[in-house]
């Protein structure tokens, strides 16, 4: 659900500021004149906003650009150094934390492993990691915010983790506790939605108003971006493409239904099916090893999963008609041929000629991506928060 804000003059000023900052980030180096042309704001308004951004040390002026006959324009770009955001990937008992700059580069990285039996345990573990990351800056530069990426259901507005399945925790008021402890704004988001947020800011979602991010690994999830905003939904389950049912009589899913995409094509499902072929393969690591060793059964299992994910993507296109589909996660990294299967299915079976040309792209994914994506939530707030 997109947060509704009152549209008054204060809102308009904040909106314009965010717009200018976003354009500088996307098109840097850029002149004030170009900003005025692209935003359709007056030159004095753009100059005022740029002045504020320079004073806030978010933007800097650099060497002169090419003149079209008059004075050479001064170009603007983001301040790349000493402007930080903190990102923590809290999707497993092994937390990964990063300090990143506003361009999404990692400055410092730490890890912490812990057992969380209660909400307080988890909050304390996050606080300890934040402390460690803040100390790593040696009090140099500005920290703009803290982003936390968590698995499960999250209410991003209140910053409450509604249910974190791997920890068996409910109603963790993480944002409230962190904002009481630290003087920075805190952003909490579901892990897949955070990955989409990273793409929106720094990856294949830059400048794309509407896209769907599909994650495939042990489980399958998704995130929908519309008009540059992550869509949350009334009950925070928008994008749960893994629980799209594809088979009335299919295998039982952890959600209590049958034939969900995740129960058919998630790696956990592949492992379940593979055990019937080879009972020695009991872990995902073993299954993935078989695939890299080109085991024909493992290849066939991933190929079949690709067919199902392709149908899931096709259904998503028919439901949301996004401009672009981004595919990320360990499954695509391990079996990139799945991407081609999906592209082929869309190109041949989507409803119309135009929808058959929906842009389907694989985006890079790594273990650290979660923490960087969490950091992007805080960065996003600078560029988008009104």
């Amino acid at each position: 659900m997109v947060k509704e804000m009152p549209r008054n003059s204060k809102w308009m000023r904040s909106y314009n500021r965010a717009l200018v900052l976003r354009l500088i980030r996307m098109h840097q180096p850029i002149s004030r004149v170009e900003l005025a042309q692209q935003t359709k704001l007056t030159k004095p308004t753009v100059s005022n906003i740029v002045g504020e951004l320079i004073a806030d040390q978010l933007v800097t002026e650099r060497e002169l650009g090419v003149s079209n006959g008059g004075r050479k324009p001064i170009l603007l770009e983001l301040v790349a150094t000493e402007q930080y955001v903190i990102g923590i990937d809290a999707t497993s008992h092994r937390f990964i934390g990063v300090i990143a700059d506003l361009s999404g580069n990692t400055i410092h990285e730490v890890e912490a492993v812990g057992q969380f039996d209660t909400n307080d345990d988890m909050i304390e573990a996050v606080i300890r990691l934040c402390d460690e990351l803040i100390q790593a800056t040696n009090q140099v530069g500005t920290i703009h915010g803290i982003g936390i990426s968590v698995h499960g259901m999250v209410n991003p507005e209140t910053g409450v983790i509604l249910f974190a399945p791997r920890f068996h925790l409910h109603d963790v008021a993480l944002k409230k506790h962190l904002e009481e402890r630290f003087a920075y704004p805190v952003f909490i988001e579901n892990d897949v939605r955070a990955l989409a947020s990273f793409e929106l800011l720094f990856g294949e979602g830059v400048g794309v108003d509407q896209f769907f991010y599909l994650y495939a690994g042990e489980g399958i999830g998704g995130a929908y971006v519309l008009d540059g905003n992550l869509i949350d939904g009334e009950n925070h389950i928008t994008g749960e493409v893994g629980h799209m049912r594809l088979d009335l009589d299919g295998p039982i899913c952890s959600c209590g239904n049958r034939g969900c995409l995740e129960a058919l094509a998630g790696e956990k499902a592949l492992l379940r099916d593979f055990e019937a072929i080879d009972p020695q393969v009991k872990t995902l690591t073993e299954l993935r090893k078989r695939l890299t060793e080109e085991d024909p059964y493992a290849k066939a299992a991933y190929h079949r999963a690709g067919e199902y994910i392709g149908i899931g993507v096709l259904n998503t296109i028919h439901l949301l008609n996004p401009k672009r589909i981004l595919l990320g996660g360990p499954m695509f990294e391990l079996a990139p041929s799945i991407v081609n299967q999906i592209k082929e299915r869309v190109a041949h079976t989507a409803l119309t000629t135009a929808s058959r040309e929906t842009d389907v792209k694989m985006v890079p994914w790594s273990e650290k991506q979660g923490a960087l994506s969490a950091a992007a939530l805080a960065t996003n707030s600078i560029f988008q928060t009104i």
């Binding site: 057992q115 259901m153 249910f163 399945p165 068996h168 409910h170 039982i252």
Partner: protein, 160 residues
């Protein structure tokens, strides 16, 4: 009034949609088998029907007891003084710590009156939870967990 058909009773209690799994345990052999609707249950078999859910909420209905017991997995450490269920919470917490607790589910236990003890119910629930997670955990470990849960229950009752 319970009907003779477990599956009908289950659906009356928890609704007719969703994927329900049935686990029947033979009291003589201790063998647990997964059964489908319509499969005959022998006189020696007790059953647990379960529909998984993934919001961390567990609901238990016992054929011999009225009402549904609801437990949230995040509150397992809170020992509510509900008779007999301190032990269930203790057991589930141990399974949570061991990483073999499912994400939630709606359970219906059908146990013959003559064997319907807390001890027996705990063992049934533990075995079904393990089966749902498909984890290679031996009967001895399950027995140990159940024993610990009973000990904890007794300790708490002594000090209540």
């Amino acid at each position: 009034m319970e009907t003779e058909d477990l599956w009908v009773s289950y659906r009356e209690a928890f609704g007719r949609y969703g994927a329900i799994r049935g686990f029947y345990v033979d009291r003589l052999t201790e063998q647990m088998t997964e059964q489908k609707p319509g499969d005959e249950r022998t006189a020696n078999q007790d059953g647990v029907l379960v529909r998984p859910r993934q919001d961390g909420v567990f609901q238990f209905r016992m054929s011999s007891v009225q009402g549904v017991l609801t437990i949230r997995s995040s509150e397992l450490h809170i020992r509510k003084n509900e008779s007999g269920y301190i032990e269930l919470r203790a057991l589930m917490q141990q399974m949570r710590t061991a990483g073999c607790l499912t994400l939630g589910g709606e359970f219906y236990l059908f146990v013959a009156g003559e064997v319907d003890t807390l001890e027996y119910r705990l063992r049934l629930i533990a075995r079904v939870l393990i089966q749902l997670q498909r984890m290679p955990i031996g009967t001895d470990v399950i027995e140990h967990w159940c024993q610990q849960a009973r000990d904890e229950g007794q300790q708490l009752k002594k000090h209540a």
